[in-house]
């Protein structure tokens, strides 16, 4: 077992997503300061007045515990990207059992890199702690320590990490006990007698001498998450940052539940008018956060907001089971990775602009081709088909008849075949192509172009080209 504790130590302020510098406050005292405020010397526990004296431009905001709880659950979903064994350690820590997934990510460093990048993309600061026991991992987040010799690192931690009462801490200091190593050296019974029975228990759990089972985080059955925006957003572009948090959580949730989606809906809540539904479509079943974000970006860039947005909501529509993919063996080429590109093209050009083709059994040329969203395996035709052009004009072009012969661009055409009669189609007379009666010919121009022309009661028409 290897536990990684991720401590979002600025969660109370970062969940508010205020412009820097900002602080979250409770009872006129600082709870958490963002990076800019911390750099100016603002510390948790300070009075707001002191902080404002240090940094006059500071934006204080009352702490919102409900949002912190929601954010921590969302982060647990995101952690599903890395491991299925996730536990919450409220108020601001998530515990991941990563012993089983190191191989998948190619070692500890690549995994930690991914976690740090993911948190940075969501605008969250974190400290990590790595140990064989969950409690030690949580304590080690104070030193942001992910070293392999976690026992040695644990021993050097100050006693402050224990989170004891002020009185107990003062007594520890009075006894000259500053580090955990000094505490470990004392007999457990004595420590329990002086500081309460919980402390030796915790010390034993942290060192792995007593079991410390963690309740696993239950990934919700349905994914519907909301994100309140700190200020009304008037440009769709600016929503991407907030949407990214939701999408990354969605990707983790899908990963942990072994699901994939082809659509999800981003709901933009407005103050006065009904919410806007922004469907995000994917060419194939996916749970890749990059793909989710890319499609969301394309959609948001093109979207014009009807009114300022106050809140975002993301819901996964109809998730389906999606098995994991195997890693390529012996350099097999995977031709399936066209799907992300198709999504990008569809997001920009429209869904109908990218399509596959299927042959429809109809003798009328206009009706023989059908656009399909995704090509299907087809069988080659058994019989040699009559000559058909590669290009077909949606609207046949009228050709002039001069001295009984059709002409194209002023020059007479040379007919190469006898008439091929295509007729009938009475069954969709009123709604589609309808009844037709045509004689088709293959013809060439003096420039050497091969055309497919036909003659009907109204004259000569150019219908296609043998490209």
């Amino acid at each position: 077992m290897q536990w990684l504790a991720i401590h979002f130590f600025r969660l109370p302020v970062e969940v508010l997503a205020l412009p820097a510098p900002a602080v979250a406050i409770a009872q006129q005292r600082i709870v958490a300061a963002d990076t800019a405020a911390a750099a100016a010397g603002v510390r948790p526990g300070q009075r707001l007045a002191d902080a404002l004296a240090l940094l006059p431009g500071l934006r204080p905001h009352e702490r919102q515990r409900a949002r912190e709880v929601a954010a921590l659950e969302s982060l647990a979903c995101w952690a599903g990207n890395f491991t299925p064994t996730v536990s919450l350690a409220p108020p601001d820590t998530v515990l991941l059992e990563i012993g089983g997934c190191l191989q998948l990510f190619g070692g500890l460093e690549p995994l930690l890199g991914k976690i740090r990048d993911g948190a940075a993309a969501q605008g969250l600061s974190l400290r990590l702690g790595l140990a064989a026991t969950p409690l030690a991992a949580r304590w080690l987040t104070h030193a942001d320590s992910t070293v392999a010799h976690w026992q040695a690192a644990l021993a050097t931690l100050p006693v402050d990490v224990l989170g004891l009462s002020d009185a107990a801490e003062r007594r520890l200091h009075a006894l000259g006990l500053r580090t955990l190593a000094q505490l470990f050296a004392l007999p457990g019974a004595t420590v329990g007698h002086r500081f309460g029975q919980a402390l030796p228990l915790q010390l034993a759990q942290a060192r792995g001498e007593l079991p410390d089972p963690q309740p696993p985080f239950a990934f919700p059955e349905r994914f519907v998450q909301r994100l309140e925006l700190p200020a009304k957003v008037e440009v769709a572009d600016h929503l991407l940052f907030a949407a990214r948090r939701l999408l990354m959580a969605l990707a983790g949730w899908l990963q942990a539940r072994q699901l994939g989606i082809t659509t999800c809906t981003l709901v933009l809540d407005h103050e006065d008018i009904p919410a806007t539904q922004l469907p995000l479509g994917f060419a194939s079943l996916t749970r890749d956060s990059e793909r989710l974000i890319r499609v969301a970006r394309e959609q948001l860039e093109r979207h014009r907001l009807a009114a300022p947005v106050t809140e975002l909501q993301l819901q996964a529509d109809a998730p389906q089971a999606m098995a994991g993919s195997s890693v390529a063996l012996f350099g097999q080429q995977d031709a399936g990775n066209i799907a992300p590109v198709i999504e990008r093209l569809r997001a920009r050009l429209g869904d109908a602009a990218v399509h596959g083709l299927a042959v429809h059994d109809d003798h009328r040329p206009e009706c023989a081709t059908r656009a399909v969203p995704w090509p299907e395996p087809t069988d080659a035709p058994d019989t040699a088909p009559p000559p058909r052009p590669l290009w077909l004009h949606a609207k046949p072009q009228a050709l002039h008849e001069v001295a009984g012969r059709p002409t194209y661009a002023g020059a007479a055409l040379k007919l190469l075949t006898r008439a091929e009669r295509l007729e009938s189609g009475w069954w969709d007379q009123d709604e589609a192509t309808g009844d037709l009666r045509r004689d088709y010919f293959v013809a060439t121009t003096t420039q050497g172009a091969w055309l497919w022309i036909y003659r009907d009661a109204h004259g000569w028409w150019l219908h296609g080209q043998f490209a």
């Binding site: 399936g336 066209i338 590109v341 093209l345 596959g356 000559p387 290009w391 040379k414 006898r418 050497g448």
Partner: protein, 232 residues
Amino acid sequence: MSASPAALDALLQRADLWRGGGCAPHAEAALASGFAALDAVLPDGGWPCGGLTEVLAGGLGIGELSLFLPALRQLEAEAGWIVIVAPPAQVHAPAWQGLGLPLSRLLVVEAEGADAAWACEQLLGSGALAALLAWLPSADARALRRLQLASSSTRCLSLVFRPERVAPQPSPAPLRLALRGSDSGVQVELLKRRGPPLAKPLCLAIERPLPWSRLTRGAPAATPVRREPHVA
């Protein structure tokens, strides 16, 4: 003092040494064009996979696609997708299928102007393409350069079809062809290749719906359209 013949041979084997008379040897993979006369004059010994090929056709229907049919048919299913970008007319599926092109690996992207060039670049970047057939009549040199860059890092047969009138404009494509129709086949002129210019165009008897001999034989006379008397 004279260099030994062995040293000279070694020198001639170098890829970066370009001799005036021959074509630059090129490491890129090529796809046999299906015409021995054409393979002999193409620098790679076939259509280049990776790198843009610009095809300037003097009109629709002179055989601008049929010229590439033998190569397109060779593409294996594992090689990837065949994508048609901004086709000049509707793609008639039965004809494509009838000529042996797999509809199951064919995608059509309808786009115009700058969007079409952007789509090509995105598609080439995916690395999932076996062949790209794009009609970019209004693409400028900058767009083509971007495509050439995107294409050179892939193993995709990248064909860009453009009208004949852009022939005098400079182009970053390493291979440029001009096609003209004729009575006995399609005239292929190599406007640009990695090598000396070709003295005279090749005439290739490409696959057509009817044998070429039909062109020179007497044709069935056209019967004029009988105008139906207008019933009042």
